[in-house]
């Protein structure tokens, strides 16, 4: 293709090369990339929405001559761009920008910690704001730049889990903006505690590209990043609620007369803040008999494993997804909450228009590998089973309910699983990694109906 090195061609190529490099470093358009983006995940583009609207109005105009389609489409466009401005303005007023973060007081977020995490890599000093007479209106502060140094390349400037490396990772980095976190000590589908987030940052997530920061960062630095993650999550969820208020409920945030809908904005901020302040940490019940695994005799260990296997196959329903041998091959194709909606859109071009990252499927964990993302301590496994894994298909265990039909003896009833019995499943799950190959299901352990 390039038989000779024509000096002219080379010069041209070098020029193009420089241009390309410049584009890479400056990003596209005028922005330098240091800005938040709006969450338009799952939202059709303006052009698509306009086309849909046009079709609906055209069909309604057929039976109703009063409808002026062009006028209505103009109204739709005006409203779309005005609402987008309203959303961006409210978010900036409430949460600031990457280099000037703010937080509504109701969130309880610590602005000093947030500032330590925000800002450019290497940190930056923000000068105090002075009035004409030199009086300080707003004091200066230091930005620590920790997030952009350690996290942004995967989790993105907006915490959208779509940093430059995200496309190449499986699973994708967490998009914080739904406020959904997987590895928690709290009730099913509740927010994590600070300690839960600390565990994830300190230890990383095994089997994923999330590294452990225990050595790279001090405890204080991790505290700053925990606060910044919560900041992204609250900002993100407030954005989703305000977007719904604007675009679905037809509300207005900023009125024509220059006032704003403080009540509506406050209600949504307080709602999101309350989700973080009202959580219930699930205290694990003691193991049956009160003895730890290490304290059990060989016979007791064997018994616990056998009960665990029975529960794994029957009452616990684990085999439904994890398969009879725990290989993660029991269920149907599945997705986490960040991909479920994508999976419903079959047309790939349509999907690419609505979501930044391609569809990624989720497999039930292969328990024989002994790699547990949320931690491999017995208490970690206990919590995954007891509370489920938020944002994924993994449900919380059904404990202490009413008697249920016995799958092994039709016509008879059995007691449902008790909470302390979860420990038997924990023992069994942790044993699977040592028993690769030979622990295939015995026929009598298989419920007739595949429960």
């Amino acid at each position: 293709m390039f038989p000779h090195s024509n000096p002219r061609t080379t010069r041209q190529a070098t020029l193009l090369c420089c241009l390309a490099l410049a584009t890479i470093f400056t990003g596209c358009g005028s922005s330098d990339g240091v800005e938040f983006v709006l969450n338009t995940e799952g939202v059709p583009s303006f052009e698509t929405q306009l086309a849909q609207q046009s079709e609906i109005l055209a069909s309604q105009a057929e039976s109703n001559a009063d409808i002026n389609v062009d006028e209505r489409l103009d109204e739709f466009s005006d409203s779309y761009f005005r609402k987008t401005d309203e959303l961006a303005a409210a978010l900036e007023a409430l949460f600031g920008t990457p280099d000037d973060p703010a937080r509504p007081p109701q969130t309880g977020l610590d602005i000093d910690l947030i500032r330590r995490a925000a800002g450019p890599t290497g940190g930056a000093d923000v000068e105090p704001l002075l009035d004409e007479d030199g009086n300080v209106i707003a004091p200066g502060y230091h930005l620590g730049g920790l997030y952009r140094e350690h996290c942004v390349h995967c989790h993105g400037m907006t915490g959208d889990g779509a940093g430059p490396t995200a496309l190449f990772l499986n699973p994708y980095p967490r998009d914080y903006r739904q406020g959904t976190f997987k590895f928690t000590s709290t009730q099913s589908k509740e927010k994590p505690t600070d300690e839960d987030l600390r565990r994830t940052i300190e230890n990383g997530l095994h089997g994923t590209l999330m590294p452990a920061f225990r050595v790279a960062l001090t405890a204080d630095e991790i505290s700053a990043l925990i606060e910044y993650v919560k900041y992204f999550a609250m900002r993100g969820e407030v954005e989703l609620f305000l977007r719904a208020e604007l675009f679905e409920s037809g509300e207005t945030l900023f009125f024509e007369d220059g006032t704003f809908n403080g009540e509506l904005i406050n209600t949504n901020v307080e709602l999101v803040a309350s989700l973080w302040s009202n959580v219930t940490v699930v205290q694990p019940v003691p193991r049956p008999g009160g003895k730890s695994w290490e304290e059990l005799t060989a016979a007791e260990k064997q018994e616990s494993l056998e009960i665990g296997e029975r529960l794994f196959r029957n009452e616990g329903q684990c085999i439904k997804c994890h398969g009879p041998a725990g290989l993660g091959d029991g269920g149907q194709l599945n997705y986490d909450d960040w991909n479920t909606q994508k999976a419903l859109v079959e047309d790939e071009a349509e999907r690419a228009e609505m979501w930044l990252l391609p569809l990624q499927e989720l497999k039930a964990r292969n328990l024989q590998l002994g790699v547990f993302r949320g931690g491999r301590r017995p208490i970690d496994i206990y919590r995954r089973i007891r509370n489920g894994i938020t944002g994924t298909p993994m449900p919380a265990a059904n404990v202490g309910g009413s008697p249920i039909p016995d799958p092994l003896n039709p016509g008879q009833m059995i007691e449902p699983m008790e909470e302390e019995q979860i420990w038997h499943i924990v023992d069994y799950v942790l044993s699977l990694q040592y028993q690769r190959g030979f622990r295939t299901p015995s026929p009598e352990m298989n419920a007739p109906n595949g429960r």
Binding site: C17, A88, A89, E190, A397, N398, P416, N449, R451
Partner: protein, 298 residues
């Protein structure tokens, strides 16, 4: 070929491709605002936040006194030459479910009469005292896992009642309900064959919650918790009927469908809403409300 290979040019090409690709990929909508928007909207809102630390407290709801009770009814009809038929799901991953013929239920139209099912109609107006005595609180409203689908597919529920999720199938299910802003109503629990769970909702929702089963990903239901009992979902023939709604006050009703969102069935409706004032003991029949496929993206 190898002799003429120029690594510089290849590098340049790669850079050009990367830069072009990078730009095309990033279609994210900036959250940065213009100077005008900043000065007119951002600054005053930021100032009010800083000055009013405890500016919260939900808005006062004006108490309304109805003069009596009335009934509102109507029928939604899908205006197309033929009824759409949902795509059949592959359900063979579970032998129990494989026995059922299960189809996508996101747009249910009765071929006999073209009635549109699963339309939510609810009263949006707030501020009424105790509802009519025909509404009994403390009941358990059943959402059944039955035949490897949820029955009913669309369910509205008064928050004074609880939801009982049962499992009538000889196979295990789990029920994963996502209720935005409502930790109480958000749950994902395993429900073995013959078992059930009872849950409550903590937030009246403007749009229905998504309910799924992880074990059988085709399963889907829409559950709408409301702070008052004045709501209905259309039946298989497209009919709805809400009895004993407050009379003598202008009421605003919201109409929703899972595919359309706000259902602007009439060009005069905005955000899927219509207003009506009912007389005491009146039965207000809205008649046939015709909706075209365009509203559902069909």
């Amino acid at each position: 070929m190898a002799r003429n290979f120029n690594p510089q040019i290849l590098l340049c090409l790669m850079l050009i491709v990367i830069s072009a690709f990078g730009c095309a990929e990033d279609e994210r909508q900036s959250a940065a605002v213009s100077d005008d928007v900043y000065n007119e909207w951002v600054v005053p809102l930021r100032q009010s936040m800083a000055s009013a630390e405890s500016a919260g407290g939900g808005g006062e709801v004006v108490q309304l006194d109805p003069t009596g009770w009335a009934t509102i009814t109507g029928r939604f009809v899908y205006d197309a030459p033929s009824a759409p038929v949902g795509v059949a799901f592959s359900t063979t991953s579970d032998p129990v479910c494989g026995a059922f013929n299960i189809r996508d239920e996101s747009l249910m139209v009765n071929a006999n009469g073209m009635g549109l099912a699963n339309v939510f109609v609810y009263l949006r107006t707030r501020g009424f005292g105790d509802p009519h005595e025909s509404y009994v609180p403390g009941q358990e409203i059943v959402l059944a896992n039955n035949g490897c689908r949820f029955e009913p597919h669309a369910l509205a529920i008064w928050m004074e009642n609880k939801i009982k999720v049962t499992n009538e199938d000889p196979t295990g299910h789990n029920t994963n309900c996502t209720a935005p802003g409502d930790p109480k109503g958000s749950f994902n629990e395993s429900i073995p064959a013959g078992a059930f769970i009872v849950k409550e909702f903590g937030r009246s929702q403007p749009r229905p919650n998504e309910v799924k089963c992880s074990i059988h990903p085709w399963m889907s239901a829409k559950v709408l918790p409301r702070e008052n009992p004045y709501f209905a979902t259309t039946d298989a023939d497209g009919n709805f009927r809400i009895e004993n709604v407050p009379a003598g006050i202008e009421l605003e009703f919201q109409v929703l469908h899972e595919l359309s969102g706000n259902l602007n069935a009439d060009a005069s409706w905005n955000n899927g809403r219509f207003k009506v004032t009912l007389q005491n003991d009146e039965t207000h029949d809205m008649g046939v409300i015709s909706v075209g496929p365009a509203l559902f993206g069909r």
